[in-house]
């Protein structure tokens, strides 16, 4: 195909994973440690990749992926966490090399994986525009030419000579997106960047992307968990599942199948630390570790829920708020619970450690249906510390007091409240 801008052929990528076998006797342990130490020492010396553990397993993050993207096409990429989306993007942006297969790219690639990458907190907004531009592959002359446009787009004129560490996180993302959006690459790769920033700025970004693809004939690859945005932006999608392409074609039917395929989790403990985070998170002082459903699963409408969130801090964090949210599969948030909502109490955690917070919901107002669970944490009003959108899929089933006639109706929230009848006869 002559007008293919991206040609991917039989692309595969494997990682090595280490496993630990059971410990039996002290002698076994000593013998094993000695063997492992020798193996690691030899690996270090030879410069090979060293794997922790006793048995080494090969894991294929991508397996035989073939794909062609035409000039001006806007292609959405969907799939669950760990389906290989990030690995595919990392190979296309040359961050990591494939194990097998080949990719041919015609034109300059820019990716918004790297929004704000290389921003230095001590440097001013002006200096960071030049630094970030160079990291993204622009020449200094190009940046000077586009400098005014970038500043106007990001709306930060007043703070150009302020170090970016004093920026709000919204300003930070705006400036970062503005630099990346003015790179004018032939191929633009966008990975979940639009989850931050206010609604107005999101609209501006979506408009810019639309302009980039439609008017300028650039190719866009777009990864998102937000099916609404995917449907409105991308005429076609690929659905990645366990490292392979499961479906490739028109967006609507595939998204329908993808949503139907989501299976609700019934695991009483949700491991959060192994789920990859959105790329815009800059602060790693606090990491959410797991969420434990103390009152069990499935969740029942109108019934109480008790859950415990475990988290770790690596350094002192001030004014912490933790929250969970329920969203539709299209990415629309329906319900949010946050620790500071009623009393404004936000504890400060002075030193590294392992902590937990318990949440009790007296009566779950969500109507029986399938939902995505989002878990997040911030410091102060709006400084994001950790955020995991669609950590798992959950099913809410009817509770003992749920009237049979609400199941399958449109409303997402059914709340009890006080009614007073006055019937005049």
């Amino acid at each position: 195909m002559p007008d293919a801008v991206i040609t991917v052929e039989n692309l595969s990528k494997s990682y090595l994973l280490g496993h630990r076998t059971g410990d039996h006797t002290l002698r076994d342990v000593i013998g094993r440690e000695a063997r492992n130490f020798t193996r690691k020492a030899i690996d270090v010396f030879r410069g090979r990749q060293v794997v922790q553990g006793d048995e080494v397993e090969e894991f294929w993050a991508l397996k035989n992926v073939s794909l062609q993207v035409k000039k001006g096409e806007v292609l959405g990429i969907i799939g669950r966490n760990g389906a290989g989306k990030s690995t595919l993007l990392k190979i296309l942006t040359r961050i990591t090399e494939p194990t097998e297969g080949q990719v041919v790219l015609r034109g300059r690639v820019a990716s918004l994986l790297e929004v704000g990458t290389g921003f230095h907190p001590e440097l001013t907004g002006r200096e960071n525009i030049f630094l970030n531009g160079a990291i993204l592959g622009m020449t200094q002359r190009e940046i000077r030419k586009k400098f005014d446009n970038i500043v106007t787009f990001a709306d930060v004129e007043k703070f150009l000579d302020t170090p970016v560490k004093h920026y709000s996180s919204g300003m930070y993302v705006r400036l970062a997106f503005a630099v990346a959006a003015h790179l004018e690459p032939e191929i633009l790769i966008i990975d979940e960047v639009l989850a931050v920033g206010d609604a107005e700025f999101q609209k501006k970004c979506l408009g810019k992307m639309d302009e980039v693809s439609r008017r300028e004939g650039r190719t866009v690859l777009f990864v998102s968990h937000n099916m609404g945005v995917i449907t409105s932006l991308c005429p076609s999608v690929i659905w990645l599942d366990r490292g392979s392409i499961r479906e490739h074609g028109a967006t609507r039917p595939i998204i329908g199948k993808y949503l139907a395929h989501k299976i609700p989790s019934l695991d009483p403990v949700v491991q959060l630390d192994c789920i990859s985070r959105p790329h815009y998170l800059q602060d790693d002082r606090l990491r959410l570790g797991s969420l434990e459903w103390l009152s069990g699963l499935p969740l029942r409408h109108g019934e109480p829920i008790k859950a415990r969130i475990h988290f770790k801090t690596r350094a002192s964090v001030a004014n912490v708020t933790i929250g969970i949210g329920f969203s539709t599969f299209e990415g629309r948030r329906l319900l949010t619970y946050e620790t500071d909502f009623q009393d404004g109490f936000r504890p400060s955690i002075p030193r590294p450690g392992v902590h937990s917070v318990d949440i009790t919901i007296d009566s779950l107002p969500l109507a029986p249906d399938l939902y995505d669970l989002d878990v997040g944490c911030r410091s102060g009003e709006n400084h994001p510390l950790d955020y995991i959108p669609s950590a798992i899929n959950l099913e809410v089933i009817p509770g003992p007091n749920t009237p049979g006639n609400i199941v399958g109706k449109d409303a997402a929230v059914y709340l009890a409240c006080k009614w007073e009848w006055k019937c005049e006869v």
Binding site: G47, E97, L105, R106, E114, G118
Partner: protein, 274 residues
């Protein structure tokens, strides 16, 4: 015509040096970033680059010159001889320690953008070089104070600056690559630097080393560099021990080759490991 990029296993290896040249602008910008950030939020800023060598010179002159009564090179004043050793040593040790941690300090860059990774540690050594040039002004002042005029040998000095650059970048490349996977190596560096200060002829002249041991002593690449510096700065007062210099250059060249080789072998997996 637009450029065509082909990605496949092992491909990066073949275009390695060409790629490095293409990214020269990023190299400049990263060095500029490190420089402008270096003394932010410090009260006396760039004065740090002067205070450290001056204080070390005072202490070493008192300990080695006054208390231990070690001889200087020829008739050169002892403080001047010490300073001519401290400057290259500080350049080497800052370069080595900063470059060794450079990949980890730039982890977010490496896991998110592609560029030849060799740029990162090399740009850090350039920062150490600028520090060196600043502190060199002390030497000029000291020479004026002692009314000590250098000979023609001073013209050869850039060659030894380059040698010091290579001596620090070689091992640094190897260690920074290892550091990505095993953070153990960040504890090794302060040890090497502290230890090296005493086994290198910084506070004393290498002429105090007995003749039969000097060749062996030159296996330390900094011996050649510091001797070279003294020869250039103090003029004929400090004799240049040619076989020793050759050995030091040989060791430096070996580490440079070995460092680049190891770095390139491990470079591919940086983004997966960091």
């Amino acid at each position: 015509m637009q450029d065509v990029i082909v990605i496949e296993a092992g491909r990066r290896e073949r275009n390695y040096w060409l790629d490095l040249w293409r990214y020269r602008e990023l190299f400049r910008v990263l060095a500029w970033r490190d420089l402008s950030v270096r003394y932010k939020q410090t009260v006396i800023g760039v004065l740090w680059a002067l205070i450290r060598p001056v204080l070390t010179m005072v202490v070493f002159t008192i300990i080695f010159g006054q208390i231990a009564r070690l001889p200087s090179d020829g008739t050169a004043p002892y403080p001047l001889m010490v300073l001519a050793g401290i400057l290259p040593w500080t350049f080497f040790s800052t370069g080595l320690s900063e470059a060794s941690n450079s990949l980890i300090n730039n982890a977010n860059l490496i896991s998110k953008v592609y560029f030849p990774r060799l740029i990162v540690p090399t740009a850090t050594v350039v920062v150490a070089l600028v520090d060196f040039l600043i502190s060199f002004s002390i030497l000029v002042l000291m020479m004026a104070w002692y009314q000590f005029l250098p000979g023609w040998q001073i013209l050869v000095l850039p060659v030894f600056v380059l040698l010091a650059f290579f001596a620090s970048i070689g091992p640094a490349l190897w260690i920074t690559a290892l550091n990505v996977k095993y953070r153990d190596f960040r504890y090794v560096i302060p040890f090497i630097v502290q230890f090296g200060l005493y086994v290198s002829p910084v506070g004393f002249s290498s002429s105090v080393v007995p003749e039969q041991w000097r060749l062996l002593y030159s296996l330390n690449p900094m011996v050649g560099v510091i001797d070279g510096f003294r020869w250039c700065i103090l003029g004929g007062q400090s004799g240049l021990y040619a076989p020793g210099l050759a050995v030091s250059i040989g060791v430096t060249a070996f580490f440079l080759w070995f460092g680049i080789r190891r770095f390139r072998a491990m470079e591919k997996s940086f983004a997966d490991l960091i």
